[in-house]
Symmetry: D2
Subunit: 434 residues, 4 copies
Amino acid sequence: MYFPNVKKVDYKGKESKDMFSFRFYDKERIVLGKPMKEHLKFAVAYWHTMVADGTDPFGAPIHIRDWNDEDAMKTAENRVEAAFELFEKLGVEYFCFHDVDVAPEGNTLEEFFENVDHITDLIKTKMDETGIKLLWNTANMFSNPRFVHGSASAPNADIFAFAAAQVKKGLDVSKKLKAENYVFWGGREGYESLLNTDMKFEQDNIARLFKMAIDYSEKIDYRPQFLIEPKPMEPTTHQYDFDAATTIAFLQKHDLMKDFKLNLEANHATLAGHTFEHELRVARDYGVLGSVDANQGNLLLGWDIDEFPTNVYDTTLAVYEIIKNGGLGSGGINFDAKVRRGSFEMDDLLLAHIAGMDTYARALLAVEKLINDRFFDSILEERYKSYESGIGKMIIEDSMDLEKLSEYALNLGDVENKSDHLEYIKSRLNDYLV
Amino acid sequence: MYFPNVKKVDYKGKESKDMFSFRFYDKERIVLGKPMKEHLKFAVAYWHTMVADGTDPFGAPIHIRDWNDEDAMKTAENRVEAAFELFEKLGVEYFCFHDVDVAPEGNTLEEFFENVDHITDLIKTKMDETGIKLLWNTANMFSNPRFVHGSASAPNADIFAFAAAQVKKGLDVSKKLKAENYVFWGGREGYESLLNTDMKFEQDNIARLFKMAIDYSEKIDYRPQFLIEPKPMEPTTHQYDFDAATTIAFLQKHDLMKDFKLNLEANHATLAGHTFEHELRVARDYGVLGSVDANQGNLLLGWDIDEFPTNVYDTTLAVYEIIKNGGLGSGGINFDAKVRRGSFEMDDLLLAHIAGMDTYARALLAVEKLINDRFFDSILEERYKSYESGIGKMIIEDSMDLEKLSEYALNLGDVENKSDHLEYIKSRLNDYLV
Amino acid sequence: MYFPNVKKVDYKGKESKDMFSFRFYDKERIVLGKPMKEHLKFAVAYWHTMVADGTDPFGAPIHIRDWNDEDAMKTAENRVEAAFELFEKLGVEYFCFHDVDVAPEGNTLEEFFENVDHITDLIKTKMDETGIKLLWNTANMFSNPRFVHGSASAPNADIFAFAAAQVKKGLDVSKKLKAENYVFWGGREGYESLLNTDMKFEQDNIARLFKMAIDYSEKIDYRPQFLIEPKPMEPTTHQYDFDAATTIAFLQKHDLMKDFKLNLEANHATLAGHTFEHELRVARDYGVLGSVDANQGNLLLGWDIDEFPTNVYDTTLAVYEIIKNGGLGSGGINFDAKVRRGSFEMDDLLLAHIAGMDTYARALLAVEKLINDRFFDSILEERYKSYESGIGKMIIEDSMDLEKLSEYALNLGDVENKSDHLEYIKSRLNDYLV
Amino acid sequence: MYFPNVKKVDYKGKESKDMFSFRFYDKERIVLGKPMKEHLKFAVAYWHTMVADGTDPFGAPIHIRDWNDEDAMKTAENRVEAAFELFEKLGVEYFCFHDVDVAPEGNTLEEFFENVDHITDLIKTKMDETGIKLLWNTANMFSNPRFVHGSASAPNADIFAFAAAQVKKGLDVSKKLKAENYVFWGGREGYESLLNTDMKFEQDNIARLFKMAIDYSEKIDYRPQFLIEPKPMEPTTHQYDFDAATTIAFLQKHDLMKDFKLNLEANHATLAGHTFEHELRVARDYGVLGSVDANQGNLLLGWDIDEFPTNVYDTTLAVYEIIKNGGLGSGGINFDAKVRRGSFEMDDLLLAHIAGMDTYARALLAVEKLINDRFFDSILEERYKSYESGIGKMIIEDSMDLEKLSEYALNLGDVENKSDHLEYIKSRLNDYLV
């Protein structure tokens, strides 16, 4: 047992003083017509929670992780045990991983794939025993030195082949474990410098890999929802999937909109100069909101800190977008979040997830009130009502042209705009925070 | 005469001590096969040069402008005189304006349009006399209070009608003055807050206006190249045309890629978190690089400073993209740049344009050397050569799939990457700066 | 009457649906031993509220302000009426102004000072009638074109003289109106470019002006608390009073620490790359926390937006610093905040102040709970307790040296650090938000 | 031999095609009265060049380093050999290191110190043989897990003791190797969150450590110049030594200005929102410009990239500050710069240093011209000349007061400011770039 201090993290209500209880996440509570847990398909991120050691660019490994063993495979096996113990104690029904998170890379690609097979067998057994599901898996095509100049975008064709091999294996694993989604995060798909980069060539190659993945998933008759995860920079100077809109432009160009959705991350949004709710809205408006990497950044810092989400403003607005999207379909809410370097104890893994889950639960309860009060709906209806009749209606029915509108405007005299009273709206929003 | 100190700004060579001479811009000099002036279709921006008064959010008007008169129409007429004097003295063959730059708005839309007619008649006469051409015109749909909540994206349909009327008038002016392009910059097309904004509704309406503009230009049988100018924020919190890629996503969605190109601005690029050359490259890769707003920002400042371009690194890389694009077609290099508040004298308008033009000329000369030496070409050829044969060739010929590539990779053993030697490349690039 | 829709903004409790009521600010309610209104010495900023017209760099004046008259002096007089009506209806007991806010500048400095005398006479009468007080006044030495290159830091000595004259007049006004503080914000004290700036020379001159101000206040036997307001940039590229620490370095160098405190603004803090609470803490730690400019910024935007404060996280942490400082002494909480351009109606002035005041009241109530629960105190006591005895105690008693500590460390073997559990702390902090 | 491809990097002139030659750095060339090498006391940074493995937060070690051995001490010994080979081939006369760079930490502090003794013996021998000198050494008090919450600022007093022990050892090494400076970079001296931090307590403890270091250096009768290296963030959220001004405020408060100077880094400057030349100027104005960490950042990225300097604008302005400071005294120009992850070959270490050294040489040659032409001097003299006589002179002689200046201003009538012609200045500056 890896977390002996805790038997099960239960909902104990907001007054609970038990650090290891939920105070807001009451999984079976019906909110907006269904249980909290169905709105909030939480997933644990294997890399941050089971693998990360607390290293930062200026600091050595620090996290105490009782599963570590001198033998890499033994460590990997221990992690499976520990992971499912953690999932069950938290009551989290999903998880996500990169291939290299679960299995050591070994000395050759062949050995790596064997390791993946072995560990995913263990994982499958655990999944069957517990009913815990795989939200998504993916291939890590950025850490290994061979990907220094990119993977599908690499200037070296042999590297493209390695990437393809990992994606094929990843899709095989998806099928084996019935992953609901498969994610592409282009960690090295970007450039260090435009001085030596043929961006179009590289992006065309990325599209090629995506099409091969579609073909292969058809061939093996298993098609998880494909997701692309945008990020603007880091590790590269410029990542090709900069933000939602940039990724959508790429998908449209390569006729891939029907095959892909987006996996959006809060901290990636802010690094790109957007709020998280903005990115979610963009994806929603284009019909490609697929899944969410839940975390938070620090807008005064220029790198990805992947902090567990605790801000109730940001989370409320994010959950609002998710609910208005009709949920996330096959997607979920993956805690792509890591405990701080200073939270290096085993129990911090529990505490941090509890913090994140309670924050999302607070947000969902806030959204319930916002929706029941029609808070945003009334604002929008009032604001845009001039389009419900008259000239407005004719505009959106596409029965106007420049000449008719010009004539109309010339006869209008003055127009009356109304104040937004935005200060009042922001003040009232505070009433809804939970 | 408004600029009596200067008769004509001539090229006098790099050693010239005459402040009012070009030291690099030698308009007829043949560079890469054609005269400098054909590569560098410079345009003066009417708003910054003829209208701006040096105001900033903390400071009152300061610029000394001898054309100012108590009567608004007289001022407008004087400006036409002064503008063409300036164009001719600088040897600039193009200019650009918003409707409100050239003519006072008056009390009604009708009066405004009459003012526009009157002044554009004057301008036409001047154009005919001098051979100076209109690079582009546009409608200012952001300064007037009626556009406080947007123009085509306004929540009030009457405002949409005003926007439509101005665009119609703008296209009439385009035809009258034979503008080579017509620009849309969505100054208020964005949101102050997502809390009260239906982004999709607003963007769909913008697309409607664009389609009406296309229809009208067909009807009047005059079609300037339509250009959209991206900017990420300011004045709104989020501008819908955030950057090149975002704008391209919108154009693709609304099937407008064949009708629009982009007018890209250096300072807008950096506000969006990109280099200028990146934005140019994106547009080039998507086939929509249309025109350029030449200026420079300060990456330590978070607002649009629109400084005249003097940085030879940035300008060289920008001109390189333009040349590799095969030039800008109907587009040009518009100095969307303003003299500093502290450069408030009349002659600063000359000095600042000279600085900008010489900087672009330096850049063009640098690019000539880069191209003649095949500086970038050799780097790229060497870097991507694995795609010219073997597995690489098969990948780009789309004759590979995941299974074949996986098999290939499994048999590869190790892959050898090569160093980019990027430090060396950057050091050598210095040799090319002029 | 300028605000006829509202008789008086009263506290009506959190369930109130009356837009023009306080839902949290209950001025006489005792919190932490004294009435809310004594903790929260709110002040209205004359410039934003009585003068600003909603202009932005891309937009014309828009605000509806019923006090505007064709005659500048009549407008100024109307503003005094309107201001005190607003103060009384809001129940705000303080206000702040620059000289140019209250009186038109006229054609000469002499005329300007006469205007100031006239209007401040009116203000004095109103103050006597209502009991409303002047939190601080200041001289605007940045808007007039003469200050284009700085005021005390100007390269032209005549400009220094103008600045000195305005400061003298400002101090005379302080005495006349019994201002509790006098503020220096160096709006143009900085540089556009270091290329033409002698920073040391300029800063030495600023120190000279400060010393003259001290001397003069002694001479007239009236000494308001002198405050400097840091800001990192805007309008200049670099403001000399970049942030709290930079300003403190300057004060220390010129031996001015005993004579000055800081007036810290939330949005200036974030522009400098700091949280507001950080800046308050720095000032508190150096003993120079003097007053507060209450507003909020947008961390995704790089300019000063001066939004009315509505974020309860930020405001709670700010009020915590103020309370731990033992309050602000002669200082207060000045709403250096402007209604959005889209909030252009008269009533928005009331709504925005209500939003700001309620937010600070929420924050004060949150702080009350945090203090009563010893939330932060217990965290700190636990965290630093090793300094209460043993080697820790010897260190802070300055009885250790490198040799003794080295010997101690060499004998220690391993050290045990404890997790911060920061995720847990952040999650619990949510419980305290009001 | 570790760099067999290169015998010696010689100056071969700007036309040289030899990648391994200097094209600008001609060490004995007399510039501004002394040899280039005396102006430019270059130093190699041991950590980046001899230790770093190319890891980034998303990537595994990649750098090919022939000195790596399975045995840590053997690796350390090999590095000494390789380092001096590199120094000699480059003709660099200085180097810098942290304790942990040169020697493995072992299992105990005692073992670590023994390792340090052993390796520094080897280094001493090499120094004696080659005449190469130690610009500075320092203690790494941020990588080891024990420093997770800080070193001198740690909440745990035992950690303070470890820090003290390392500083003592560091000073012993300084003496042994005759280091010209000793650096303090507070890598973990800052906070992750203000929620659990007593900033004043922590900073007071840092001051205590500094005073102990002064006392100890007096005791052992060896006093290198003490230097503090500011950085605004990373690894912590807020570093106490945010920038030059912040560090100066701290030094003044604790009466340490006479004992410390600053070691300023280009990339740290820009992370703090400043240009490098600004930070150098601040330090120069306060008399504490001590040494320089030469590198460059990317202003579009929010983390420390430590790129080798190649930008001639930035470097020219930096060298100008250094020259105007009368040089750096005991300080020098340390390449705190790392080869890109993509420059992973051994020879890249040579190429990158050559790029950096040539860039500084270009800059020095540019500064020579700027000074000989009195480029900046004439600008400043002209700009501030009103302070050389009349009222200006009286102001800087402190013989004016507010009343006299007010009277003067009231009699002035209008003041005439002059344009800065900043666009012209920036354009001319290009002529000086080498």
